[in-house]
């Protein structure tokens, strides 16, 4: 297993204003100045708290992503009718045109 770089880990616990803005952009969230300031503090505090894991010896252990051991549940590649109706699936859409979701132009 690749050893975790602890020095890098320590230094990144405090987030800068730019870090917060970058995360907001990645998250597709537009934040007010007030929110940015508050999140900068709160996120740093949360990240400081989870740093306790840094001191845990996890040599020889593999990460767990799934707890029941199930793998690759598959079924035949056939269209199956679950009773979902197109009009019901579209009824919550902000804009529908010709039975399709209409979004602002992409290109």
């Amino acid at each position: 297993m690749t050893p975790v770089c602890y020095t890098k880990f320590k230094s990144m616990s405090k987030l800068s204003r730019d870090d917060v803005l970058k995360l907001a952009a990645l998250s597709k969230l537009r934040l007010s100045d007030e929110e940015v300031e508050k999140l900068q503090m709160e996120l740093s505090e949360i990240l400081n708290y989870v740093e306790v894991l840094n001191n845990v010896d996890t040599a020889d252990l593999e990460p767990t992503y799934q707890v029941t051991g199930l793998k690759n549940i598959s079924r035949a590649d056939e269209v199956k009718d679950y009773g979902y109706k197109t009009e019901d699936l579209l009824k919550n859409a902000p804009v529908v045109k010709d039975n399709q979701f209409k979004v602002k132009r992409v290109l």
Partner: protein, 468 residues
């Protein structure tokens, strides 16, 4: 108000014609009406409930014939809106229904209302609901716990005989302990999550909040098992969950040492110690056991959960359903404004933390490290269950706290889950059973079972319930 009979008894009387489903629905709706001041519910669906009751009265059948129930508002349900208590889903009407509700309905149960929660189930008090705060049934200045706080309060107030909740880090057990009802978190994968709004998919489970362990076992029996709409589901126990042994005598029980040393409120500690004495008197072999990594589970959770939240909430983009900002000039702005205006503070906080711990350069140090510590927690549970049939401890260090007491500091709110999250990280089944009171507020005992040991755990919990 007259209390509800056990579920099996209600259904039996409906099948025999002694009780009418329609009367049960009216009773539930009347209870709801007269308890509005607690804000336990977001919406009711009287029209559909009355129609279903009328249909059932025509030809009553099913193990839950005519039994009204309430679903947390993150379950997709017909007959009304499904909002997850979030602004972004304010106008949402479910185009299909959750498997859990489908299975309950197939046995004759009737969903009458949707319960309040912390928006998207992010919280421990319902104070993060974008609608309102649910008040504690015994003291309106306090929270009912969360995130399934509306469901727990609804059952404690007898609005319906049972309610559904979801438990990602303790969201069934914590409010069950606060409100004095039974709250059951099954083994991960045992109940299909199809049609339930996802929070953290590697730990989300569905379970009942009920007035007795027996009722919880019946509900689990009806809901559990594989579902082709949720490929993470596991097979149910062949023997089901209803024929359960209440034996306490001879059971080997470990008291989780780390949970008893966590700065418990004295009243909570006293109830837990009394519970231990009762179990000992009933013949259980009890000793303290150390699982040293369990207190780390909260830090693991606050990496893994936001990571999965940031991924699961990316679908709310204002294009296909939910709130969509009308102010956008282009597609990117439409995403950003819809999410900015639609998400509350806690959802944003978790999306941001999750995005950070998953981002390039930080993934190994945070996410992978957390998932590796998760393995350590799982290993400690597995070792403990080689020696013990069950593990016990408090559900949370405290009783129901005052509204507003923890809202200023997100970390203080997160700490309420410190004793419940480990079972979510490992997948083990766990239950909160009412064990007593501290200064007139309920306290639950947490009992944790081995993976897939739901039937045994429910039996032991029923035995304990009989001692209190």
């Amino acid at each position: 108000m007259e209390d509800w009979a056990p579920l099996a008894r209600i259904a039996e009387k409906v099948r025999s014609g002694e009780l009418k489903a329609s009367d049960l629905v009216e009773k539930s709706l009347a209870n709801i009406e007269s308890n509005g001041e607690y804000d336990a519910l977001i919406s009711t669906m009287p029209e559909r409930a009355r129609q279903r009751a009328a249909d059932i009265d025509q030809a009553p059948k099913g193990r839950l014939a005519g039994v009204p129930f309430i679903a947390k508002d993150n379950f997709l349900a017909f007959g009304g809106k499904t909002t997850a208590a979030s602004n972004i889903l304010r106008p949402f009407e479910a185009p299909y229904q959750s498997t859990a509700i489908d299975r309950l309905e197939a046995e004759g149960a009737i969903c009458v209302a949707k319960a309040n929660l912390d928006a998207f189930a992010h919280g421990s008090s319902t104070e993060n609901s974008d609608w309102f705060v649910t008040k504690h049934p015994k003291d309106k200045s306090r929270v009912p716990g969360g995130s399934s706080g509306g469901s727990a309060a609804a059952v404690a107030l007898r609005l319906a005989p049972f309610a559904l909740g979801t438990d990602t880090g303790g969201s069934i057990r914590l409010p069950a302990s606060f409100c004095g009802v039974v709250g059951y978190k099954p083994t991960y994968g045992l109940v299909s999550r199809s049609g339930v709004i996802a929070m953290a998919s590697s730990t989300d489970v569905i379970g009942p909040l009920a007035r007795s362990v027996e009722d919880a076992a019946l509900i689990l029996d009806v809901m559990s098992g594989r579902d082709e709409l949720d490929s993470t589901t596991i097979d149910k126990d062949e023997a089901g969950y209803q024929e359960i042994s209440k034996d306490i005598a001879g059971k080997k029980v470990g008291i989780i040492k780390e949970y008893m040393a966590q700065g418990l409120e004295p009243g909570v500690e006293s109830v837990v110690r009394q519970s231990i004495e009762k179990l000992k008197s009933a013949g259980a072999n009890i000793e303290e056991v150390s699982l040293p990594s369990l207190p780390l589970a909260l830090a693991v959770y606050y990496i893994v959960c936001p990571a999965e939240v940031s991924s699961n909430l990316s679908r709310y983009d204002g294009q296909r359903y939910g709130y969509s900002s009308g102010d956008a000039a282009n597609l990117d702005q439409s995403y950003e404004l819809s999410r900015e205006q639609g998400f509350g503070a806690e959802a944003k906080r978790r999306i941001m933390v999750g995005t950070h711990v998953l981002s390039s350069g930080y993934y190994d140090a945070y996410y992978k490290k957390a998932q590796t510590v998760r393995t350590k927690i799982i290993n400690e549970f597995s070792e403990a269950f080689q020696q013990y049939d069950f593990l016990i401890g408090p559900v949370t260090p405290m009783t129901a706290f005052k509204i507003g007491a923890k809202t200023a500091d997100p970390l203080q709110m997160y700490l309420t889950d410190i004793m419940t999250v480990a079972a979510n990280m490992s997948g083990n089944p766990a239950i909160s059973v009412p064990a007593g009171e501290a200064e007139n507020l309920p306290v639950g005992l947490q009992i944790i079972g081995p993976m897939r040991g739901d039937r045994q755990l429910l039996g032991f919990a029923k035995g304990f319930e009989a001692l209190t």
